[in-house]
Symmetry: C2
Subunit: 226 residues, 2 copies
Amino acid sequence: MVRQNIKIAVDAVVFGYKDRNLNVLLIKRDVAPYRNYWALPGGLVLNEESLEQAVERELREETNVTIDYLEQLYSFGEPGRDPRNRVVSVAYFALVKPEHHSIKADTDANDVAWFSVKELPELAFDHLKILRMAKDRLKNKLSYEPIGFDLLANKFLFSDLEKLYTTILEKDIDRRNFRKKILSLDILEELDEKVSEGRGRPANLFKFNQKQYAKLKKDNFLFDIK
Amino acid sequence: MVRQNIKIAVDAVVFGYKDRNLNVLLIKRDVAPYRNYWALPGGLVLNEESLEQAVERELREETNVTIDYLEQLYSFGEPGRDPRNRVVSVAYFALVKPEHHSIKADTDANDVAWFSVKELPELAFDHLKILRMAKDRLKNKLSYEPIGFDLLANKFLFSDLEKLYTTILEKDIDRRNFRKKILSLDILEELDEKVSEGRGRPANLFKFNQKQYAKLKKDNFLFDIK
DNA sequence: TATTTTGGCGTACCATTAACGCAAAATTAA
DNA sequence: TTAATTTTGCGTTAATGGTACGCCAAAATA
């Protein structure tokens, strides 16, 4: 039997919510193949590290962002997806809060940047396919887990949360029903701070109450926002 | 930099619905490590085959069952999960209809058998962890996708479907409401055949209408059985 | 004849959703 | 200074759908 000759890598789809739009973190390749194409951050797994550690290391080395949420997405293993050697890539799905959006100063050759998912460059390898799957995962998960809060600042306005949902789910939401629904879940903490953004009545700041959510989740509580 | 020395394997959690209970397909290992332990079917991926092909080949070689539903479950890559070399395993989730339950005659050393998920032997490696994740996936998916039909014979009784749901979801279901709900979805075809099983009025046979479901799904139809 | 299982009807109650009205607090325009 | 506009925050109500049942007839077996 022929000796197995397959490499194992990780790739990360890192989402950030910037300028009221969903953005994804990409790096510009400076080696062949796909030289000068934009690609998902990632790379080969080291012998002694776990897959998650590999993702965290690559993100640290290549982009400098701090991840707020990480989960495995899917593994891609078609022969031929990398023109050099066969590579099986375990893709991860990550979210970053605005506080952690700042990326590496591009002193080195590698360029790093946020791209709106609506204006993507051509991507290397099968990374567009991976990105699409991640977008679907985000869209679905937003409805039954409170991961939207990992895309917002720690303190946020209700209108921010609402805009996030309408943007990512790509549909209108009745503002008043949305507010009622979310508040009834009892997972937000109303802060004693108001913010005035341009015209209109100043809005209250809220915080996601992680502890309260963990408590409710234990009792089979269902987060469900459509 | 040290050369990467990690193997890539696939494992499959194959479910069958037998004797009104959920069963899983296991093979008995005849080599170290975990010699004589039961394990999930699987093995190393060949250089030229896709991950799905690897799963299908291993199942053919080791068990002889024909798969009716297959999807990727999760990848397990902790260093140390295999005591010999580092192995990253892409686990798959599979369903088999009763028509395809017959397994390999155990002429060779390898033993293959169906086990009720309620009476499992001790499993090799981290396979119990993988199996648990697959059970969760099945339980969840049963509620929002019509995969239960891939565990039943092509022609089935309503009482079979109901028992399947109560068994896997581990909760009681009101017979009348369940029937009403499923029939209202309009995805079953009522056959002109009746079956008498022991005492009681003979029951009608039904078939899952795959085409009709595909059509409805296009129009954003939601399968949702709780 | 009693019992069991299927198949079907109806209905009361409850929780959730959807649609919408309106006042309060700020800014901008007249 | 006042009026119009914008955004926030809170309420009301009708429609919908799920859940929990009761009831009964048909068709088989014990």
